[in-house]
């Protein structure tokens, strides 16, 4: 097991390293970029040249990359030029990570809580109207463009009915910040109105973001429950006259959940991507939001950090999934 983890960690580093090279070369081979983003119409050849030199963008790419690696080794991933000029790019990532995590966790939680039971239900009743209904629903879920859904949600719940806030993470209540997980902070500092406000702000974005993971997890759960229901050992369990509860929990779900777990891992990728859209529409101020902005203003440093980090997180989470997988499946654990 340990060897496996180490190997995978190394692999992960490898992936990120390769990615960093590609990313770096690619970003810098693009037209325009940071300098013209900063100068705008006001750009004169002098100012452009001056800035280009100041930023060391006039040097050959491999030199720039080596410098980047050099600095990166000391934990310095460059400073933002557009998203939050002057702020350490890594810092931006760290500051905004909680926002994205808060959102993603809420969304994923929502998705799983709905998808798994419903998936089981519709597998049990496979062929029934309920089943087909849920299946169609899940497929529709995948077919609706996230940002469009987001708009509809906002329009109905926030603007028309004014039940929930339109965007942002919290009303400006001057809340105290500790972890930047607003809900958590509110609880820690006993500023419960802060938590409440944060929760209210979470509802719509997480709903929008949850649709696709829900659809996918639902379908996997359904498929794998269907499969397990056909397995001999379930029949054995029934033949032992075990209670429905025990059969479901111990014999059906414990097996059916294996592929579900891996799928959940896969979905984190989708979440990160979906966050770009959702966060933009809900002015969430998380990683996705920053990423979109970084592209607009060609903020290389931020782009590099965010994309590498996103990839890193993604690979890492899937490592966790594999490990947890190994833990739930004795066939792996006791090999």
């Amino acid at each position: 097991m340990a060897r496996f983890i180490i190997r995978r960690l190394l692999q992960m580093v490898g992936v990120v390293a390769v990615l960093s090279v590609l990313l770096f070369a690619w970003l810098r081979s693009l037209p325009g970029g940071t300098v013209s983003a900063i100068l705008g119409e006001r750009a004169t050849p002098e100012t452009r040249a001056a800035l280009t030199e100041a930023f060391g963008l006039d040097q050959p790419i491999y030199v720039q990359y080596l410098k980047f690696v050099q600095r990166a080794a000391t934990g310095d991933f460059g400073v933002s030029t557009g998203v939050l000029p002057g702020t350490d790019a890594l810092q931006i990532f760290v500051d905004r990570l909680p926002a994205t995590i808060e959102l993603s966790v809420a969304a994923l939680g929502l998705a799983v809580l709905l998808a798994v039971p419903l998936g089981y239900l519709s597998a049990r009743r496979s062929g029934s109207p309920l089943d087909s209904g849920l299946v169609i629903l899940s497929l529709v879920g995948v077919a609706v463009p996230v940002f469009f859904l987001a708009f509809l949600l906002k329009y109905q719940f926030a603007v028309e009915w004014n039940w929930l806030p339109v965007s942002g993470r919290q009303d400006s209540l001057g809340c105290t910040r500790i972890t930047n997980f607003f809900v958590l902070d509110g609880l820690m500092t006993r500023e419960f109105d802060c938590s409440a406000s944060a929760l209210k702000h979470l509802v719509l974005p997480s709903l929008a973001l949850a649709t696709i993971p829900f659809a996918v997890i639902f379908r996997i759960t359904r498929a794998s429950v269907l499969e397990v229901l056909g397995e001999d050992y379930v029949r054995t369990a029934e033949s032992k006259g075990l209670t429905a509860r025990v059969v479901r929990a111990r014999h059906v779900m414990r097996n059916a959940l294996l592929p579900v777990v891996t799928t959940i891992g896969l979905q984190t990728g989708a979440l990160l991507a979906g966050a770009v859209l959702t966060e933009k529409v809900f002015a969430w101020g998380g990683i996705g939001d920053a990423l979109a902005r970084a592209f607009e203003v060609r903020d290389y440093a931020v782009l590099q950090v965010l994309i590498l980090a996103a990839a890193g997180i993604y690979v890492f989470i899937n490592l966790l999934v594999d490990i947890s997988y190994a833990i739930i499946d004795p066939r792996v654990r006791t090999r």
Binding site: G32, F55, G78, P98, N162, Y300
Partner: protein, 557 residues
């Protein structure tokens, strides 16, 4: 097919907002909730399109930042609300010497910075010299100084600024190296605001470093100290909100609303929804198509006077056919600018007859835009023997400017016009920050392109100078035209004229020549940018320079 909206909701929203406002005032120890009368809210919430860069205006470059620093800082000169004209601010009056190279500013008395430091002639000179003495990365970061004053103390020849003397407590004399219409007007720019010397020292304000591919800013840039009506209360990056609160030691009338909150909301339609839901009180540059809807929903759309110009640039170096005046005129006649302005640009936009808006001194009222006349255009092309002219005509994507809300649609319209007179158009587009600007100015990669300019202050030079003064380095490549040099010399000469009247006449003359003899590009339109606030907001005066101050704004419950 409009979705219906209902009034009660708006009320509920306002109620909801007021609640949150109270909640805030309870927690904020500094922001005492009493803003005079109780039927007014103590917070004005504004939806910003982007986050501010730095709070030291010297290093700031973008509107989102200036909107905030403007509330915190003031300069020697100010702008008369609702106009583009300068007025006394921290300087009560100013006098040029005979040669116009030395300006005496008599300062407002009894003014202190928000940190209690006195504002006096010393402070003025400290600020001027601080800007002049920028070093290293600071020089690149202080973009506006470079742009308006030329260079820094390490290269005095290039600099407009020479020196500053504090002759007494309330009198500062600023010496400049040459005459220009821009001085002292440029002192009204936010970048050159007066900041507390003590705070600048303490915050190591000049310590800008180039790190990797960006600048790191000193600690001061997040703790600005000015004389303005507001001070920076907090910048909650996690929640993307900036809170300003009234400056207790402000010399003028205390601001009508205790706090201003700027919420960063990047998405246009989300800002609209937030305003609708009542969680913000206003936002800048609403999309023209929303103006009507916003008004219908009981908001106030404040339309500013147009202080910008959209033009179609032409590059006679890349496409020699364009060196023939008749061809350029043909293009001018081919473009149906009336229809464009009518159907694509916001209400109050006008067809441009020249490269500067009406408000600018030097504007030539006698000039008429080239009329839309496809037949004439074809004749001219025929005369020039360019019946089968081909143009590479570019527009930017991923951008919206006050002078061109939707470049693509303007471009589309023109492409059709040009094709109508038999010109073959090669359509090119690039992202604004993805190479478009470089291609236009550095690479000269297009025959024709769309670009514009929003005036920084009221001087013809800020427009015409920008476009044509630099003979060898301008987007229009006038250097290949016989008249290019004359034009650039005339412009520099006119700029140097000290006497208002003479200068105006000179510029009017140049504008006439630009239209009739040179036509280096085709002026298209001046479009008014707007600002929208909810119906509960009073006392906001829109500024042509988009330089509104919010200290007079009130928000009723």
């Amino acid at each position: 097919m409009r979705l219906k909206r209902t009034a009660p909701i708006a009320l509920m929203a306002v109620a909801a907002l007021s609640i949150s406002a109270c909640a805030e005032s309870e927690r904020d120890d500094s922001g005492g909730g009493d803003s005079g009368s109780s039927d007014l809210k103590d917070t004005f919430t504004f939806g910003a399109a982007g986050a501010p860069d730095v709070f030291d205006p010297l290093y700031a470059t973008d509107g989102e930042t200036f909107r905030i620093t403007r509330q915190i800082h003031q300069g020697l000169l100010g702008i008369t609300p609702g106009t583009a004209d300068i007025q006394p601010e921290l300087a009560e009056s100013w006098e040029p010497s005979e040669d116009g190279l030395s300006w005496t500013f008599s300062l407002r008395e009894g003014v202190t910075f928000s940190d209690g430091e006195p504002f006096d002639a010393e402070a003025v000179c400290y600020n001027m010299d601080r800007m002049y003495n920028q070093e290293g990365a600071g020089q690149q970061a202080a973009e506006y100084w470079t742009y308006f004053f030329g260079s820094f103390s390490d290269d005095p020849e290039g600099s407009l600024y020479d020196s500053c003397e504090a002759t007494d407590e309330s009198t500062a004399v600023i010496n400049i190296t040459r005459n220009t219409s821009s001085f002292p007007t440029i002192l009204s720019l936010d970048s050159f605001s007066m900041q507390s010397p003590a705070a600048l020292e303490a915050g190591d304000a000049n310590n800008v470093q180039a790190q990797g591919e960006g600048f790191t800013y000193p600690e001061y840039s997040t703790n600005p100290v000015g004389v303005g009506p507001y001070v920076l209360e907090s910048y909650d990056q996690a929640n993307q909100t900036i809170t300003l609160t009234a400056n207790e030691s402000y010399y003028g009338d205390a601001p009508a609303t205790q706090n201003i909150v700027f919420r960063v909301i990047p998405d246009e339609s989300t800002r609209r929804q937030e305003l609708q839901a009542g969680s913000i009180d206003g936002y800048d540059l609403p999309n023209p198509v929303d103006w009507q809807g916003l008004e219908d929903d009981g908001n106030t759309v404040e339309i500013r006077d147009a202080f910008n110009i959209l033009y179609m640039g032409l590059n006679p170096e890349r496409n020699e056919a364009l060196q023939d005046l008749r061809v350029r005129q043909a293009i001018a006649h081919a473009l149906n600018r009336e229809q464009l302005v009518q159907t694509q640009l916001p209400e109050g936009a006008q067809v441009a007859s020249q490269f500067i808006p009406e408000a600018v001194s030097g504007y030539n009222p006698d000039l008429e835009p080239y009329p839309y006349d496809p037949d004439r255009a074809q004749e001219l092309l025929a005369e020039a023997g360019q019946e089968d002219l081909t143009l590479t005509f570019a527009f930017p994507t991923e951008v919206s400017r006050p002078y061109m809300p939707d470049p693509q649609r303007i471009h589309d319209a023109f492409v059709q016009d040009l094709e109508a007179v038999g010109i073959t158009v090669e359509v090119v587009s690039k992202p604004w920050n993805g190479g478009y600007l470089d291609d236009v100015s550095a690479n000269g990669a297009y025959d024709a392109w769309l670009l514009g300019w929003t005036g920084d202050y009221n001087a013809a030079d800020n427009f015409l100078g920008t476009f044509f003064s630099n003979l060898n380095q301008n987007d229009f490549h006038t250097s290949v035209m016989p008249w290019g040099e004359t034009l650039s010399q005339d412009l520099q000469a006119a700029d140097a004229i000290v006497d208002e009247g003479e200068r105006e006449a000179a510029y009017q003359e140049i504008n006439a020549q630009l239209r009739d003899e040179y036509l280096p590009g085709i002026p298209i339109s001046h479009s008014p940018p707007a600002l929208v606030v909810s119906g509960d907001v009073e006392g906001l005066t829109p500024s042509p320079l988009t330089a509104e101050t919010f200290d007079t704004v009130t928000v009723s419950q």
